[in-house]
Symmetry: D2
Subunit: 350 residues, 4 copies
């Protein structure tokens, strides 16, 4: 009963097979392997963006930080949701990669910010005043840190605010596939058609071993991104193993199949949780991650039954007042089984 994170799941057998299959014989290194050429083409087709450039890296932090550094100068403000991954969970990677840009936090509800709040925060920054950092760029996360989902229209509205101020937009898509499945938007609609300039297109959480694609829709920035990737130690010598993962991930829509399964398991879990009177949803579920509160008593029972998930914030103790409500994060993945979902609901109901 594994609900800690989609990071804890293994690799889809299809992707693993592709990694094994690419192993035979020598291959050109540093991204010059022929699989990468096909990956690039496929991403261009998928995103209906024939000029897009693609750089593969192995971690989401690298993808995000490289994307931000390529678009935001050291004296820029990066506007992000107040609990954005880039702010909370990357140990300052955006500041490191950008050379000291400043993240300005936008308040929001259920992991989402509104165009009004974004415009207000951007407007506060003293553009043209040399004493202030300057307006740099906007970063959004979809699905959000609270497990909710922005529709393509919502992304477009937020990106529209950025464009009004002349700012580029980054989309942290560590769980991009789950958002696409949840909304039914096309990849193009969710990104460049909505005004997104650069995407972290996640693979790792959704069944890859470790690969994320930075997709830039303006190829003029590609060389700078390439240099930043190398300089940060993120250009793989045996790059074929990244290419092979991403190739298999895209092939036949596997990325959507995997995400659909994860979202479906989450929906089934939600349905079960909603039958439990002591469980309350902290935010509406959008895709494969959900946050609920319950009495510690229930939580202890689930743990004893072998369930595995995180209390929030990290470090919340297992022991304590059995009636106190604790906040639980439950994440499903491509590998979650119906038995796990049923098992958790039963354990909580018991």
């Amino acid at each position: 009963m594994e609900f800690r994170s989609d990071n804890n799941a293994g690799t889809s057998p299809v992707i693993l097979d592709a990694v094994v299959a690419c192993n035979a014989g020598p291959a050109a290194s540093y991204g010059n392997d022929p699989i990468m050429d096909r990956v690039r083409d496929r991403i261009r087709t998928l995103f209906e963006a024939p000029d897009a450039e693609v750089a593969l890296v192995a971690t989401g932090t690298a993808a995000n930080a490289l994307a931000l550094a390529t678009f935001c100068p050291p004296w820029g403000a990066i506007y992000a949701f107040e609990a954005a991954h880039a702010e909370m969970d990357e140990c300052g990677a955006p500041e490191f990669f950008t050379g000291g840009a400043k993240i300005r936090l936008v308040p929001g509800q259920d992991g989402k910010i509104t165009p009004e709040a974004l415009a207000a925060k951007i407007g506060e920054t003293g553009q043209g005043d040399v004493h202030s950092v300057q307006r740099g760029m906007v970063t959004l996360t979809n699905i959000t840190e609270a497990g909710t989902v922005y529709s393509a229209e919502e992304v477009a509205a937020l990106a529209g605010v950025a464009k009004r101020f002349g700012l580029p937009v980054h989309l942290d898509g560590a769980r991009f596939a789950n958002a696409i499945v949840a909304t039914g938007a096309t990849p193009a609609e969710m990104t460049w058609k909505a005004g997104v300039d650069v995407l972290s297109f996640g693979g790792t959480k959704n069944g890859c071993m470790g690969v994320e694609a930075v997709v830039i829709f303006d190829p003029a920035r590609a060389w700078e991104l390439a240099l930043r990737r190398k300089r940060a130690g993120h250009l793989f010598s045996k790059h074929r193993y990244l290419s092979a993962q991403m190739g298999a991930y895209l092939d036949g829509g596997l990325w959507l199949t995997l995400a659909r399964h994860a979202n479906d398991m989450a929906a089934q879990l939600e349905a079960g949780l909603r039958t439990l009177p002591e469980v309350t949803f902290a935010s509406p579920r959008g895709a494969n991650m959900q946050f609920v509160t319950m009495p510690r008593r229930l939580h202890q029972r689930a743990m004893e039954a072998g369930a595995n998930y995180y209390l929030m914030p990290h470090g919340t103790p297992l022991d304590g007042d059995p009636d106190e409500r604790v906040l639980c994060r439950l994440v499903t993945s491509w590998a979650t089984t119906e038995a796990e979902v049923d098992g958790l609901i039963e354990a909580l109901r018991a």
Copy 2:
């Protein structure tokens, strides 16, 4: 007939099997997987260093740059061979990771520097003079960029110079295994017993998919290294795949077996090359990489016969005066076959 780089070879089947084997079921993320615990223990045993700390990353540039940044302040001078990988081939990664340290180049022969040259260069830096960068650290590469090998005694002599100036020592061991096989030194003799403080222990070039271990012999620096790794986007979420590679690499001495094969193939290649009167060694071969000059005519013949290797410097044209001597870099790997070696010699001899 693949002699471009050990980066072009695939992954040893044993290591690939381990990657596949570790895939079943969920695993703790971010380095908390149980395989990593075993890897740490094994490295401590192998290096006879019970307090050593180990951080896995996926690229050599990351390993080197993180090691340097953990030991050298932004105002420090890093003393390196004038053609060191850190200077020539990392797009400024050491400067980026350290926050602007300065690499000071030490001249040498055949890829190696002498204690005298190192001492002279360190001595030049105006320690205690606020106008000058300060003496920071020493970085060595073994096997060297010219394919030669430092003996453990030579490393100790160079590290001794560093110690005399109170400086820490980094060893870039992208091909550490080849150096160990070539010298017969133990890992401990080649590192901390010789005065090395931090090692980039390479796996990728020697049969892994993409894994390098940063080994720190003073555990007091481990937390800073961990933070720097995360902040640079080099902490893998599905870390088990790094652990599994490194585990299999160490298991039963596979790392030595693979390197021994590469070195043996290189020796066989050298023996063949020495029978060719028109081929001259540019530097003595130490392990699995060798540099020879030959008339372009011979080189063209080898290319036509299907050989694959690099002319140096990169960009040297295939066409040109057929009698002009060109400099060829020939690298063997765990995957090189006798047939490839024989094939190249035959092609050159024809």
Copy 3:
């Protein structure tokens, strides 16, 4: 009727005389001038800190950013009031100098934060969690950005929170003299006795041409500070002109005399403003800077009469609804005259 900023005032004649006086003949450069020796001694005496080290720079931004960078690692969080100068008015200098530390904003009232709010914000940061930036340091401003003043006891309470978390404390004392005069605390009581580790001791705003002293109470950090100062281009070659300013500033308590005058003029201005029924204080005045609201009508009258001060936020238009209340910042300096104060009150009353 100059009330824009103490930055707009000139230099006290006494200090200017000292600059002129130090000009004769050659002097040792880069801080080795004999005046600097006397300045260092005097600051040690004044602060009852015989081991304190002192580095002079010419701007407050440099003093603050160097102080922060010397005490906070790149992965550290700097806790600051949400409208702190370091956050709002230094174009990201702290991020630049530290190599990408992250300022975490503490909410407050009237420019001041409470120990509870500070403790809460520090507590939120995931110390020991590699995904999070780590707790770095605390920076306070006194007098505050809202013109209020922390007592030495309040500073001690806030620094006590920092110490509880093991964090160093910086005091941005751009208007330190005004705070000392306002509170009656000794320099020692306001700094190291309260738990402050490093002080930006301002001179520029209080009658100098351009000099600030970074005062470090732990001399072990002095060499790093010296290197950072040089590396940032803030070590003056003809350093005597900084020394001479600071020497004259300290001599005979001139720094307190100048600040007392500024505070007295502010008190007189406050007294006048309080007689005007349409003027309301936005925050209590503590020293030489005050914030009041008034109908735009009154403000326009003052401008027409030749008064000079800023509306907040910057960019608030002069024209508009005459009854709308505008927020005015009024700063007095060592150079403010009673006539200016009276003139402003008369203009507003008319």
Copy 4:
């Protein structure tokens, strides 16, 4: 008998008077003072560059590092003479300000590099190869670190090499005035007409208290420079004092008058030294700095007679073999007197 450095001289009385004169009354801060408007105009006229932008800072290190950072990306190589000030005497400021650019050293004679050597070094850098830093910019120093002078034609030849590679050119003109006097070139001929993109126009060494102008000939870069200056703490609040210095420095050609005196005194000193058979010139004198060798005996005599200058490298001991030749750096300034020159010659001759 002061010959240590032009940094040890005081401030020209004319400039000091201007500083005193600008003190009356309030003035707009942060570069918005009316004197700065006149300075900008005057520099544009002087350089025949109506679009040039000017930023004043207080130190040469700041001027150089800001100029480099504005034109060179973090992954760029900066080509500099192997003993350039930027390499040897700024504690890594260029690396800090640029975010980790790499200085690549060009060998030379007598402080000067040749177009051939420059082209060779630029050519070595693997442009377009992602593993290598990229060609960034060229920095020249005039007068050079060896006291020699580049003619405008020589600067143009070197800048021509840079242009051929598409690179911008910086001129470190800490002693620009001395070079202009020595060569008779106009400021325009020595800079933009020769291909220089950005100049550090020195004032401090030539009679100012502490002011350097960064002159950018392409105004499109001015805003980035302004932000970098602020962010580095180099924007003065009471900026009028920088403006007043630079204004007086330019007024009536004072900058040339002061430099001419320094050069004349150096010529007179050279003439005297050439009469001493035991003194040998290490490099030809070009302006106001000269390097000679002499037996330690002579040097000791000069010291005993009250002369003051530096042995090179710094730290060469006063005591030692009296016949050993020591290398002496002798710098004259606007303040050097004939009596000092005569005194030194007499002391050496005695």
